[in-house]
């Protein structure tokens, strides 16, 4: 789903990745992010996606891609196998949210997570008018959305607190511009660096 935001999302993530790192990108789509990080940072890594068309696109993009079902976890992957485990705009598409974030922090030293903020002003306005929000960050009708979890920045931070997940850094954006003031209301996308608490 990274194509919606293009390079802006990538640039933020790239700043958090050191050259030559081992990276796992969950929900990698066509592999654009991995390709970008390989070119910019010389990372070595793998993408994971369960959609056949994404696996094909990622192979064409020249990256390592593994067709695994994230709902089944990453049991075959070693502890601490990666420096960073990334989930770019995909966390809202999986059901087993907490086990997956815990898996990310088991196989990686640090997790990078970005997600659309359901609490954004425009989404609240849509709900207030009685309709589910459709926006750049949530570009689907309720009946054809791949998203299965709808949560806000405040919800996510509560989840981290409740599960002993350390929030090391959070960056918030609205249509690509940084948001400082009340991100839960003003940001359409949040990016986090997470660690083991």
């Amino acid at each position: 789903m990274t194509e919606i935001f293009g390079r802006f999302d990538f640039d933020v993530i790239a700043r958090w990745i050191a050259p030559g790192e081992r990276v796992l990108d969950l929900g990698c789509g066509d592999g654009s992010l991995l390709k970008f990080l390989t070119a910019e940072k010389g990372i070595r890594g793998y993408g994971v996606d369960n959609a056949p068309e994404n696996v094909l696109a990622a192979i064409r993009n020249g990256v390592n891609v593994l067709q695994f079902d994230l709902e089944k976890g990453l049991a075959g992957v070693d502890d601490d196998a990666f420096d960073h485990v990334i989930m770019s705009l995909s966390l809202q598409t999986v059901r087993h949210t907490v086990p997956l974030v815990q898996e990310m922090l088991r196989v990686g030293h640090e997790a990078v997570v970005s997600f659309p903020n359901f609490g954004h002003r425009s989404h609240r306005e849509a709900i207030a008018k009685g309709r589910m929000p459709v926006s750049e960050a949530l570009p689907y009708q309720w009946y054809d959305s791949p998203n299965v979890r709808f949560f806000t920045i405040a919800d996510f931070e509560a989840l981290c607190t409740d599960n002993g997940i350390e929030v090391r850094e959070g960056l918030f954006f609205d249509e690509g511009r940084a948001v400082v003031d009340d991100p839960n209301l003003n940001a359409d996308v949040a990016l986090y660096r997470l660690g083991r608490g």
Partner: protein, 372 residues
């Protein structure tokens, strides 16, 4: 239209003895092989196709005057096909111990002047790869651009990365496994017992007796076929359809599935050798690169340097997707380049031979990435 066209098998004799994993030494041997496409000046575009249990060197194209003699992987190999012979020099070889012309149980044992029969040694996947390396030397191929195979062929591709890590750049391991399960071995043992207990087998020296263990080989093939198909596909293809529209209340063929298995079994006995079947199932059973590492596949694969493409099929219960994932996880552990596709195809283990659009797209996309 996009066939490699009419092809001619070639033969090469190797005079140097070869010590086999099982302890015996063959004084020399011959291999039958085919090639498609042109080897480039650098010798950097060669791809070896490894065959499975009943396959051969005849991978693609047809023989002159025999329009039905289409190679077993012709849908994958040819000009403009996923394994594109406009780019790659493709080699197919009949393995040692085979029955399509390479030295095997039907060949004359120089020590006795008689066919080897049961005296032909059991060969292993490791032996096959060692033999294939001699063919590579003969063809002037220092390093394969890729080695590709399905099922037992995938095991050979994997073994290439372990035995000759500097002579293979890419391994394509399809519908395969790092070793057989107890259930896999059980099916192989059933097939072997069918052959070994056939009165016409004569301890493997049936050539000398002028007999063929047709009943045993037929039964072995029938068992095999059950494991190659999925339950769903059998239901879809045959269901409980009757052959003659009525029940016989006897032991004739009532159901279409019975007719199919008998037909496949009968057909197989007209072209395949029972001793080769025995040897090949043993090669399958013995393959286990982790064995020398206390069962640790990660340690066993540490010496591989190649990049990998691994694929499995959702309905393959003989070599199920989790078996392929074992290989993938062990490669990840070692930091190797690997891509893995789990292909949704209803045809069970046999899917790897079929012309499934997505399957061929991912294989083709991976092969397109390989520099020549």
């Amino acid at each position: 239209m996009n066939s490699v066209g009419v092809v001619t098998p070639q033969r090469v004799a190797f005079d140097a003895p070869i010590a086999l994993r099982g302890g015996t030494t063959l004084p020399g041997f011959e291999l039958v092989y085919e090639t498609y496409g042109e080897l480039n000046a650098e010798g950097s575009n060669a791809v070896l196709v490894c065959h499975a249990l009943s396959g051969s060197h005849h991978v693609a194209g047809v023989y002159a005057g025999q329009p039905n003699s289409v190679g077993w992987w012709d849908n994958l190999v040819g000009p403009g096909k996923p394994l594109d012979t406009n780019r790659f020099f493709v080699v197919g070889v009949n393995n040692l111990g085979g029955c399509y012309g390479s030295t095997g149980p039907m060949s004359i044992n120089p020590a006795t002047g008689q066919p080897y029969g049961a005296d032909f040694p059991v060969v292993t996947v490791e032996d096959w790869v060692a033999v294939q390396a001699r063919l590579a030397d003969h063809l002037g191929i220092g390093c394969w651009a890729a080695v590709i195979g399905g099922s037992l062929g995938g095991m050979q591709a994997l073994e290439w990365t372990l035995q000759f890590p500097d002579r293979i750049r890419h391994a394509l391991v399809i519908a395969s496994a790092p070793k057989l399960s107890a259930q896999n071995i059980a099916f192989n043992e059933l097939a072997r017992q069918a052959i070994l207990s056939d009165p016409d087998f004569h301890g493997g020296h049936y050539y000398a007796h002028g007999t063929v263990p047709v009943r045993g080989l037929r039964l072995a093939r029938m068992v095999g076929h059950i494991t190659y198909l999925s339950d769903d596909q059998m239901a879809e293809k045959f269901g409980r359809e009757l052959k003659n529209g009525t029940l016989s209340y006897g032991y004739d063929t009532d159901f279409q599935i019975e007719s199919y298995l008998r037909y496949q079994g009968d057909k197989f006995t007209t072209y395949f050798d029972a001793n080769t079947y025995l040897i090949t199932t043993k090669a399958l059973d013995y393959f286990d690169p982790a064995r020398d590492y206390g069962g640790d596949l990660q340690a066993a694969l540490a010496r591989a340097k190649a990049s990998f493409f691994v694929a499995s099929f959702t309905t393959d219960w003989r070599f199920a997707p989790e078996r392929s994932r074992e290989i993938v996880y062990a490669l990840m552990h070692n930091g190797r380049d690997v891509s893995y596709a789990e292909i949704d195809c209803s045809a069970g283990h046999d899917s790897f031979l079929l012309d499934d659009a997505h399957y061929h797209a991912v294989v083709g996309a991976y092969l397109d990435r390989i520099e020549t």
